[in-house]
């Protein structure tokens, strides 16, 4: 009786599926189409052109911004992945009275609004510089400023929480008797962690790293607060161009970014499949 109800063909799932696809991907399609549109402002189709791509590749500001962004994202991802993984391991493994508090401390940055974190980071750095810069000037003759370093630090702090949460989820499925078995068979704690725990939670670590990379890549709000001279990043440049520059070039840039992102996800997916 129930089978009949379950196997009955329904229009509704099909509708939802197509609506979702349209809703998700039409905006991306519009950007892609417009990147080949001769019209500068978009809107109407005025003929096919590679003009914006040519302009994109000859704009040195964009390349500087891209380089900065990649440097920041790479360093922040590596640091956040290592720290976040260790953090997840500690959260999972060591139990004490403050465990809930520790968990909250790691989890909280995920729900605090970006703008609040940006402001607080800026205040922290300014306070720190006011305190250490006189000392540095006297001893080494240098001073610290807002710039790429502060952006990297800020990015690590929020990426770390994402990595920790993703890896923690993976760890909760991990059978810890495997860790004990490794110890039992002669491995020390470090070897057991590296040879048994890490391979098992690798998909989580990779997912965390990927998440960190994309989050860092397109972060605008926090970066805006802690950026300084010579630390132009792509999102900040794009935002500026949309308002005062040439939006069509940005369309071209977006398409390239889109392709890079899809390729990265595809490669990671392939890697994970091989693992299994």
């Amino acid at each position: 009786m129930k089978d009949h109800y379950l196997t009955k063909r329904s229009f509704f799932p099909k509708f939802v599926t197509w609506a979702t696809i349209v809703f998700f991907y039409i905006p991306l399609l519009v950007v892609a189409v417009n990147s080949f549109n001769r019209s500068k402002g978009g809107g109407v189709w005025k003929g096919f052109t590679f003009q914006w791509y040519r302009q994109l590749f000859s704009d040195s500001r964009i390349w500087e911004a891209l380089r900065n962004t990649l440097v920041i994202a790479s360093i922040a991802t590596v640091a956040a992945t290592v720290l976040g993984t260790l953090c997840a391991f500690a959260l999972h493994r060591y139990r004490n009275r403050l465990q809930k508090t520790h968990y909250m401390l790691v989890y909280l940055p995920l729900i605090v609004p970006d703008i609040l974190r940006g402001i607080s980071m800026l205040l922290l750095f300014v306070l720190l510089f006011a305190w250490v810069n006189p000392l540095l000037r006297q001893t080494l003759g240098i001073r610290m400023n807002l710039g790429i370093t502060t952006i990297i630090i800020a990015h690590i702090t929020f990426c770390l929480s994402y990595v920790a949460m993703v890896v923690l989820g993976r760890l909760q499925d991990f059978d810890f008797s495997l860790y004990e078995a490794a110890l039992d068979l002669g491995a020390n704690k470090f070897q057991a962690f590296l040879k048994v725990v890490v391979p098992a939670i690798m998909p989580g670590i990779l997912a965390g790293a990927l998440l960190s990379f994309t989050l860092s890549l397109d972060d605008y709000v926090i970066t805006f607060f802690v950026a300084g001279k010579g630390s132009l990043t792509l999102p900040i440049y794009i935002y500026g161009s949309m308002k005062h520059g040439n939006p069509a070039v940005i369309n071209a840039l977006s398409v390239i970014l889109l392709i890079v992102t899809f390729l990265t996800v595809y490669v990671v997916q392939k890697l994970l499949e091989d693992k299994k």
Binding site: D175, S177, A181, L183, D184, L185, V196, P199, A200, K275
Partner: protein, 379 residues
């Protein structure tokens, strides 16, 4: 035989609950020693203390003359076969078995030779390249055993190794375990709640109950001469009788039991007249017949009863027979099938039982009655 592992006055509490209370055991090199007890008796905790995963509150663990109580697990010459096998899922069978040797930085040629040898021993050579998730329960079990043995530990701990397998496989693995043990000659400490497993595989058994060693001895000693009501009831099945000692004559005496015929019993504990005594009689020690048996040997007790329940078990039949105010549990082996008339419900039967075939308990706790099989007979 030389002692390899000594467990000395080990006590352990979790919070206010005492899990192990002054447990002392001595395990000889090369034997299979079983720690047998119901779930929650502390046997797994004891094993984890031996393996180095828990620290005892009191007491010491001595391995081959060396105090290892506070030594971390990876430095002890003790390996464990875990109940869930704990095979590394990212490694093949071959790599799993090679793991302890690689960690110990053994030579490559040595690793290859030893892994092949153990693969052969567990008859898994053709599965060397498989990942654990492609294996059946029994195969996983064998790999776990080979992995724990390959680096030749001084002692191998097995934590309920067969609990996750079905009955037929369990029996086969038990035979295999025994032959592996003969091949490698390593001391096995075998933890189980299954008394048949323990009886069939061990040289010695320690019966653990509520954190206390109730009795230690060979399987025969523990079965035939249980020290107390727990051991008698937990290992196999039994009938308990309580009575007063009367008429002591030589090694024998008469036990006067309320609501039951008096029994002549072997008085090995040299109990004086008037003392209260508890007796354990195993169901298979009775013999039962429809006709009154003639020419009984001396000191054979004979009494009449009526069958109240019959459970046919194939190789044997379990009978519940009312004698006086008691229901007696009797197991009758089927020697011949066609010739004898079967005993049925409501038959009047004769029970005989020889004075030597019982054991007086040193200690009796009424709560252990709940471990004895009782018939489900509505009044």
């Amino acid at each position: 035989m030389a002692e390899i592992l000594r467990i000395e006055n080990i006590s352990k509490s979790f919070g206010s609950q005492k899990v192990l209370d002054q447990v002392s055991l001595s395990i000889s090199a090369g034997e299979i020693f079983s720690i047998l007890g119901p779930s929650g008796c502390g046997k797994s905790t004891l094993l984890r203390i031996c393996g180095g995963f828990e620290e005892p509150d009191e007491g010491r663990i001595i391995l081959d003359g060396e105090d290892i109580t506070r030594m971390p697990p990876h430095k002890r010459g003790i390996h464990t076969v875990f109940q869930n096998y704990a095979l590394f899922p990212n490694m093949t069978v071959w790599e799993n078995i090679a793991f302890p040797l690689r960690i110990a930085k053994a030579e490559k040629s040595h690793i290859r030779r030893e892994v092949e040898r153990y693969l052969e021993l567990i008859q898994m050579s053709e599965h060397a390249g498989k990942k654990p998730r492609e294996l059946s329960g029994g195969q996983k079990q064998r790999v776990a055993i080979a992995r724990a043995l390959v680096n030749r530990p001084k002692v191998l701990l097995l934590d309920e190794p067969l609990a996750a397998l079905d009955l037929k496989l369990r029996q086969r693995m038990l035979v295999e375990l025994d032959s592996i043990h003969e091949d490698v000659g390593i001391t096995f400490v075998y933890v189980t709640h299954d008394q048949q497993e323990a009886m069939s595989i061990s040289n010695h058994i320690a019966v653990l109950h509520q954190g206390i060693v109730e009795q230690e001895g060979t399987p025969t000693e523990v079965y035939e001469a249980p020290k107390n009501s727990f051991v008698a009831a937990f290992i196999g099945d039994t009938n308990f009788f309580e009575g007063t000692i009367r008429d002591v004559h030589g090694d024998y005496c008469i036990l006067k039991i309320d609501g039951f015929p008096s029994l002549e019993v072997f008085n090995d504990k040299k109990m004086p007249e008037g003392e209260r005594a508890h007796l354990s009689i195993r169901p298979e020690k009775f013999s039962v017949s429809l006709e009154k048996p003639e020419n009984l040997p001396a000191r054979t007790n004979l009494f009449q009863g009526r069958v109240e329940d019959v459970i046919y078990l194939g190789a044997q039949t379990r009978l519940w027979i009312r004698v006086g105010e008691r229901l007696v549990s009797v197991v009758k082996q089927h020697a011949s099938f066609a010739l004898e008339r079967k005993i049925r419900y409501r038959d009047d039967v004769w029970l005989t039982w020889h004075a030597d075939n019982a054991y007086m308990l040193e200690d009796y706790r009424p709560s252990d009655e709940s471990l004895v099989m009782h018939p489900d007979i509505g009044k």
